[in-house]
């Protein structure tokens, strides 16, 4: 045992040497991250305490004025509220739709499996294309959605899909759900493939019915996939800019303005970089909370 020790120590030392050398390999990536992520964040925090506007070359420190203005800014609170509704409803409906589709398509065999591939295509369509597609479909007059609803006798006059704040938010959420339900379909299909055959067989021997099989056997196996998928989509939807901007530009009357839209408007159409940075910092903090929740969930996930 004692004789083996020096040999082992030498191996460990060599491994450590290699590891140290390997650690240095991360330096370029860390430098890049510091430049493209770290520096802008630090700079945004600093700018949020100034009255920086792109119009004027001079700007100065104004303390917490931007943050106190934020607390009294109705557009900020409206945007925050819209962000929560847009994200929450999109993820919840997308998840349920994806789950339903995954369960319905689970038993597809042979050429019918092609159907699953077709259902995944909305996920591959560029966001901007989806946005214009749905804008044309919802537009009034002339949109196909109102036309179909009228033909089916569900409505008697066209709905103001993109011209009423409530309906506009609904229209944007529908487009978003169409785009991201396939993502949930994909992860649930993969998770369903991981349910052990013996468990399914045992349930069948016990004459479990379809609903019991889904609720008591399959859903517990899908819990982790649902959690990871939902958290990823929450982060993605929190940052969803192109879909909303292309469909409604945040209107009408701030009806679909989310935090990311508001930051863009402040920074790039009103050029108020100081105030935009303050909104951006709040937005960043919220995203960091969600991200840390995501990382903690991943770490605590059982193998």
């Amino acid at each position: 045992m004692q004789a083996a020790l020096p040999k082992a120590t030498g191996r460990v030392r060599r491994r450590r040497q290699r590891t140290r050398w390997f650690d240095w390999m991360t330096a370029p990536a860390l430098i890049v991250l510091a430049v493209v992520v770290g520096y802008p964040i630090v700079d945004a925090v600093l700018v949020s305490f100034t009255n920086y506007s792109l119009y004027t070359p001079l700007h100065h420190y104004v303390g917490g004025v931007n943050y106190s203005h934020l607390s009294n800014d109705p557009v900020f609170w409206k945007s925050l509220q819209n962000t929560v509704i847009f994200t929450g409803v999109s993820v919840a409906v997308g998840l349920l739709l994806g789950l339903g589709l995954a369960l319905a398509l689970e038993r597809l065999r042979g050429p019918w499996r092609f159907l699953r591939a077709i259902l995944l295509t909305p996920w591959a369509v560029p966001v901007i294309v989806t946005a214009f597609l749905f804008e044309f479909m919802f537009t009034n007059p002339g949109g196909i959605i109102n036309s179909l609803l009228e033909t089916a006798g569900l409505i008697h006059s066209p709905l103001p899909w993109l011209t009423s704040p409530t309906w506009a938010l609904t229209a944007v959420i529908i487009a978003n759900v169409w785009m991201q339900a396939p993502f949930f379909l994909l992860i649930f299909t993969a998770a369903l493939g991981g349910v052990p055959d013996e468990v399914i067989e045992a349930a069948r021997i016990d004459r479990a019915r379809t609903w019991s099989m889904i609720a008591l056997i399959k859903l517990p196996y899908l819990r982790n996939a649902a959690l990871v998928g939902a958290l990823l989509m929450i982060i993605q939807n929190f940052n969803n800019f192109p879909l909303i901007w292309a469909m409604t530009t945040g209107g009408p009357a701030y009806g679909t303005s989310t935090l990311v839209i508001y930051v863009y408007q402040l920074a790039f159409t009103s050029f108020k970089l100081g105030y935009a940075s303050a909104v951006g910092v709040v937005w960043l903090v919220l995203l960091m909370i969600i991200t840390s929740l995501f990382i903690r969930t991943l770490r605590s996930r059982p193998a």
């Binding site: 557009v75 993109l162 011209t163 159409t269």
Partner: protein, 455 residues
């Protein structure tokens, strides 16, 4: 086996890879590392050199960079390309490098470029964009280039649009004030005389008749999107009611005149005469198929409509005509949607840049081959002659030159405008779609605009 001089480093065992000979820490391994580091440094420095040489090419004395949205739009891109080709053939020492940027993005992109210190030499701007760029201090005053004889050749009012804080920082390229376009065919079908309404009240009366007869026809094309351009379009309507949303750093959004304007806006929204939150461009497609009765647009709408329905000039004039925007107080207003040309202070080629700008805006060739046919706009020439005068001898151009250009007022463009437009448009949209009492809408707008313009 002497390939690339590597024979001396060949491993004693023939065919074994070179890398296997480099034991960690050995002299050979260090040499390889040194060679690899050298290669990486050479590549990086080569790349940097290539980038910097590419950058300097853009700033060399014979290259004029020209940022514009005309090259980014399907209708005008071939025309701009042809103009550049022609100019380069007339000036062999000059190369024009066109930078296509969409109309929506050009303002923020150029403001960013000025701040970063790398703006183009020349740019195409419009309305508030010129004021935004002037506020950054990045525009070159043009007084030393625009001689008094040159100035006398330009329509004085149009020349004045490029004068900001006493400095001539922009010259007019295409003249395009907003007018009321009316569709004579639709009016006749509704049993109306095909004459333009002179007042907004008259327009509402006509609208009622048209909507009753043809419910699917859009009665009034009015841009109510939350964009600076949305406010541009609504500015002359507001003014014709005697309303102004703000003046300098003072909000004036809650006045009886503004409430009258908002009531008018509510009527056209609630009675289904105007689809809310739609861009001006939205109305052009239905206009081409006689599905629009009135629309507020510039002279260029003629070209767009004709490109869509392939109508001849004669057929177009039989269907469409332009008139001053109606009024509620007796005075008619319009605003310019002119395209202007500016030069940036950083330009190393100011003289060449000016010559290019001047040629685009005033040369008979550019006016008759681009401004009129591609832009569908009026040239800024005070005394057009020859071919240009002939091209302007039509009912639409004459209305614009004689009636609408003199009515042009400049909106309160600048920092306050950029800060407040979103809240003003939110108020307008609220008036159109909500049932909130108009005084309350005006009061909310006043509070929001006060916050925007008070600094």
């Amino acid at each position: 086996m002497q390939i690339l001089g590597l024979r001396r480093k060949q491993h004693p065992v023939e065919g074994a890879p070179l890398r296997s000979a480099a034991r960690p820490g050995s002299c050979q391994a260090r040499r390889y590392r040194l060679v690899a580091t050298g290669a990486v440094l050479a590549l990086v420095s080569g790349g940097v050199a290539a980038c910097s040489s590419g950058g300097s090419a853009g700033g060399s004395k014979n290259v004029i960079t020209f940022a514009n949205w005309a090259a980014a739009e399907t209708n005008t891109a071939p025309g701009v390309a042809a103009m550049i080709k022609k100019y380069e053939s007339l000036h062999p020492g000059i190369t024009i490098k066109s930078e296509p940027i969409s109309f929506t993005d050009i303002d923020q992109q150029l403001v960013g470029e000025v701040k970063a210190g790398n703006p183009p030499d020349v740019a195409e701007l419009q309305g508030g964009y010129t004021y935004d760029l002037a506020a950054t201090g990045g525009l070159q005053p043009l007084s030393s280039f625009a001689t008094s004889s040159w100035q006398s050749s330009i329509i004085p009012r149009e020349l004045g649009l490029g004068k900001i804080s006493g400095q001539q920082v922009a010259i007019p390229w295409t003249v395009a004030p907003l007018a009321l376009w009316y569709n004579k065919t639709v009016m006749r079908k509704a049993g109306l005389k095909p004459t333009p309404p002179a007042t907004w009240a008259q327009l509402l009366t006509d609208a009622k008749a048209i909507h009753a007869k043809e419910p699917k026809v859009i009665v009034l094309g009015n841009d109510t999107t939350s964009r600076e351009y949305g406010l541009d379009v609504n500015w002359p309507i507001m003014r014709s009611f005697g309303a102004v949303a703000f003046s300098g750093t003072k909000a004036t959004a809650n006045t009886p005149a503004m409430q009258k304007y908002l009531t008018f806006i509510r009527t056209i929204g609630k009675d289904g005469y105007t689809p809310e939150n739609q861009k001006q461009g939205f109305f052009r497609q239905p206009a081409a198929s006689n599905q629009v009765a009135f629309t507020i647009d510039g002279p260029y709408v003629k070209g767009v409509v004709q490109s869509l329905n392939h109508a001849s000039n004669q057929a177009f004039y039989q269907t469409w005509a332009a008139a001053p925007l109606p009024t509620a107080t007796g005075t008619h207003y319009s605003i310019p949607t002119d395209h202007q040309l500016v030069m940036f202070k950083n330009s190393p080629n100011k003289k060449a840049a000016w010559e290019f700008m001047n040629w685009l805006a005033t040369s008979p060739y550019a006016v008759s081959h681009y401004t009129i046919p591609y832009e569908g706009s009026i040239p800024p020439l005070a005394h057009p002659s020859g071919t240009v005068a002939g091209l302007l001898n039509n009912p639409v151009s004459q209305v614009f030159v004689k009636q609408i250009v003199p009515e042009v007022v400049i909106p309160a463009w600048g920092a306050s405008y950029s800060a407040a437009y979103a809240d003003v448009m939110a108020g307008i949209q609220n008036a159109m779609i909500s049932s909130t009492p108009i005084p309350s809408v005006a009061s909310t707008m006043q509070t929001a605009v006060t916050g925007d313009v008070s600094g």
